[in-house]
């Protein structure tokens, strides 16, 4: 990017600007294996055109000194797309479509720890690609719901069978969705919020 002409950097469109009253933001992460529909879901519910934040990592060559710019270092760029939903004039919700591989998560300091909760997207043709991500969320104590993105040629399992296969306790919601549809994606987010609310009520009682 040419910062010498910083006047020309395209910022948010007028309608994408937040009001000056915006004072706090919360986030939800949408995770799942390669190609399960994370980006599509972010795009279908976002009020702004989805944006991308990137992080660049360098991988140090083995046994080579750490001269910056040494040719043996390879750079890898990891991208995460995100969208936004204004909740009130004060509160904003951000949705992050996060790469499934946990080895990238540290790049975005506190991404999972600070999130209200997570949506795990699964594709029943490749259920196992989302196993690892669920385990990681369990280990970190991040509450999540499971949304089955129904591709037309994917096998359909009864929820009870999926629950057994995914080894999920009864209270964790599992629901079907079509991430291309805004109403369907919204329902998934709503299910997550209701689940978080039930946890909060339970937590307050114990």
């Amino acid at each position: 990017m040419d910062f010498k002409n910083s006047d020309t950097i395209p910022g948010p469109r007028t309608e994408d600007r937040l009001p000056h009253t915006a004072e706090a933001a919360v986030k939800i992460v949408i995770v799942g294996g390669f190609g399960v529909g994370k980006t599509t879901m972010v795009g279908s519910v976002s009020e702004i055109r989805p944006l991308t934040t990137e992080e660049t990592m360098t991988q140090a060559g083995i046994g080579v000194d750490d001269n910056y710019g040494s040719a043996s270092k390879t750079a890898t760029t990891v991208a995460m797309d995100f969208g936004r939903i204004s909740i009130t004039d004060q509160l904003v919700l951000y949705l992050f479509g996060t790469p499934g591989q946990e080895r990238f998560w540290f790049l975005w300091n506190g991404l999972f720890e600070g999130a209200l909760g997570a949506v795990v997207l699964v594709d029943t043709r490749r259920l196992e690609v989302s196993f690892d991500v669920m385990g990681r969320l369990e280990e970190r104590g991040v509450p999540f719901v499971v949304a089955v993105n129904t591709f037309p040629d994917a096998p359909r399992y009864p929820v009870a069978e999926l629950r057994t296969a995914l080894d999920l306790p009864d209270e964790i919601p599992i629901l079907d969705c079509d991430v291309r549809r805004r109403a369907s994606s919204r329902d998934v987010l709503m299910t997550l919020m209701r689940f978080l609310h039930s946890l909060a009520v339970k937590g307050a009682l114990t």
């Binding site: 950097i9 910022g11 991988q59 591989q101 280990e139």
Partner: protein, 138 residues
């Protein structure tokens, strides 16, 4: 057809960050040796303010003449509140680089940071209800 079987994991079972994760079935960006990954701008010293992807940043002043082009661009973008993630996207700069820029601007009192709300042990029910209400309008 029966689906593949997963086994649930216990909370806190996470291993320290230094231990490499088991090699995942290769797909995107083949990276072995994950313990030797570094974030640009994230190495070594240099104070970094506690900035989250959804911390909202608002400019407190016009860019001073002494501002670097990057700082000036950032200040112009956040004339109205904007999250760090959005700043990173519009500036086409990595999150870590934007964090460093903001840390300097905070120190110079040129921007204000509005803290993000992070998950508590027991989530704030009023907050969750507000989010649900907002989603209903969507």
């Amino acid at each position: 057809m029966t689906p593949p079987q997963r086994r649930r994991r216990a909370p806190g079972g996470d291993r320290p960050a230094e231990v490499p994760a088991p090699a995942p079935p290769g797909k995107e960006g083949e990276i072995r040796n994950p313990e030797r990954l570094f974030v640009i701008g994230g190495e070594g010293g240099g104070e970094r303010a506690d900035i989250d992807l959804v911390t909202l940043i608002v400019a407190r002043a016009d860019p001073p003449v002494s501002a670097t082009p990057e700082q000036a661009a950032l200040l112009r973008l956040c004339a109205a509140p904007l999250s760090v993630a959005e700043l990173s996207a519009y500036l086409s700069l990595p999150f870590s680089v934007v964090t460093v820029l903001i840390t300097d601007l905070l120190a110079a009192e040129l921007v204000q940071a509005r803290a993000s709300i992070v998950r508590q042990k027991v989530a704030d029910r009023n907050l969750l209800e507000a989010v649900m209400h907002g989603l209903q309008k969507l």
